[in-house]
């Protein structure tokens, strides 16, 4: 087969060859011609024009009716040509947007990055995966010299870019709090005021903040409307819901939060999550909290990081590798 050229002459030869032989080779070349035309941004009406010219040269005595009908056909193709050009330009724009979002997403990742601290006596596992490129979930660890470990987990309503922007705000507000303001109740009350002042009325954030005393093994925490986590009590070999009532952040300026406590013993485990975990859907059905706990129990014996990753992989597969919501899961295993 000869290499194709995009001109009337080649089209004419191709057309003639096909009319004479009606062979598949010519049709295959026609397909190549059509693909090349698209690459060169040649619109359908131009192809029809080439066809008309080629036909007229091959058959100079073409009946006038056929001639007119071909003009008619060309006219009807004009809008398709326009739609194709528009599609091209929208596709270029989409690529641009996509790359802007990628840049924003990697910026967000470095802004919100947190190092999982190495704390003696506690095995920590944490995973947070966005449904789209940008994450509306957030977790953060603060490990200070005074023997305290701060743990934050938060979820902004919605997902994507607006949620990610709100999350950056949370992170920076928290950074600005002084160390004396680190008790969970105060942290949430301060954050609530920041969020209430700065976000749209239909936007809110749920958050759990815990402060673990490494010397006394006491976990103090408060919750602002956050999905309850689980607490595994090793001596009773039982899982409990971590309750903690409190209004979500950003709704009422003067909201106050209660503080709760858990005295952690050897082999106890605290499990924190966001509603991306509990809102998993399989087809039309939701996963119940009990089922989530069953899955967690399945992997909980593993080292904490391996365990959270295994649980994530399980739910990812369950949802056909397409998350509907941002997914965040943290395990804190007291191993001494």
């Amino acid at each position: 087969m000869k290499p194709l050229k995009l001109d009337v002459k080649s089209y004419q030869e191709l057309l003639k060859q096909y009319i004479v032989s009606e062979d598949e080779t010519s049709l295959y070349q026609a397909e190549q011609f059509s693909k090349m035309s698209m690459q060169q941004k040649i619109s359908p009406e131009e192809i029809i024009d080439v066809h008309i010219q080629a036909l007229k040269e091959l058959y100079p005595d073409l009946p006038a009716e056929i001639d007119a009908s071909l003009d008619f056909l060309m006219e009807t193709m004009i809008s398709y040509g326009l739609a194709y050009q528009e599609f091209q330009s929208l596709r270029e724009k989409q690529v641009e947007l996509q790359s802007e979002i990628s840049v924003a997403a990697s910026m967000q990742q470095s802004l919100l990055s947190t190092t999982k601290p190495n704390v003696k006596g506690i095995d920590i596992g944490a995973i947070s995966v966005p449904a789209n490129q940008m994450n509306g979930d957030y977790y953060h660890f603060v490990n200070d010299d005074a023997g305290y470990l701060g743990i934050a987990i938060a979820d902004v309503i919605g997902k994507g870019i607006p949620a990610a922007l709100a999350m950056s705000m949370i992170k920076y507000s928290m950074d600005s709090f002084r160390e004396t303001q680190r008790n969970p109740k105060t942290v949430l009350e301060n954050l609530n005021r920041v969020v209430e002042r700065n976000v749209d009325s239909s936007m809110f954030i749920t958050m759990y903040y815990g402060l673990f005393n490494l010397n006394t093994n006491l976990l103090q925490f408060s919750s602002a409307g956050h999905e309850p986590g689980f607490y595994y009590n090793a001596s009773k070999d039982e899982f409990f819901d971590i309750e903690g009532n409190g209004l979500v952040l950003g709704v009422m300026n003067n909201a106050s939060y209660e503080q709760y406590e858990i005295q952690m013993e050897k082999d106890d485990i605290v499990i924190l999550l966001t509603d991306g975990v509990t809102e998993c859907r399989i087809g039309d059905r939701f996963i119940e909290r009990e089922e989530i706990l069953e899955v967690i129990k399945e992997y909980i014996h593993l080292p904490a990081q391996e365990a959270v990753e295994s649980v994530y992989k399980y739910f990812e597969k369950l949802q056909d590798f397409h998350l509907r919501d941002d997914f965040t899961l943290i395990f804190l295993k007291k191993n001494v």
Binding site: K159, G225, H226, L247, V248
Partner: protein, 110 residues
Amino acid sequence: MNLDIKIEEEKDLTYEVFLAGEIDAYTAPKLKDALMPLAEKDNASITVDLNRVNYMDSTGLGVFISILKATKEHNSDLKLVSLQDRVKRLFEITGLDSIILIDSTVQGGN
């Protein structure tokens, strides 16, 4: 899935809104557009029947928060009735049941 919204005006400034379907990121704007004009009337009373809402996510909660704020500014009332368990739990976890009036004498989903 879709969301059906039916608004009935019982008497002057007293509205009953019947919802059926799912309230999520796709249907929430429609819900907000339907409820906001009612919430912005002075001294109105709005009852939202969620009996046939089988799913709601946090975007839906966001809509009810903005509606609640609007009603407060206009001295109006908002009440939610006949919530299904799953939806009711969402209001409870987020603490929103402490600021939005929810009548749970009738359970939804029957």
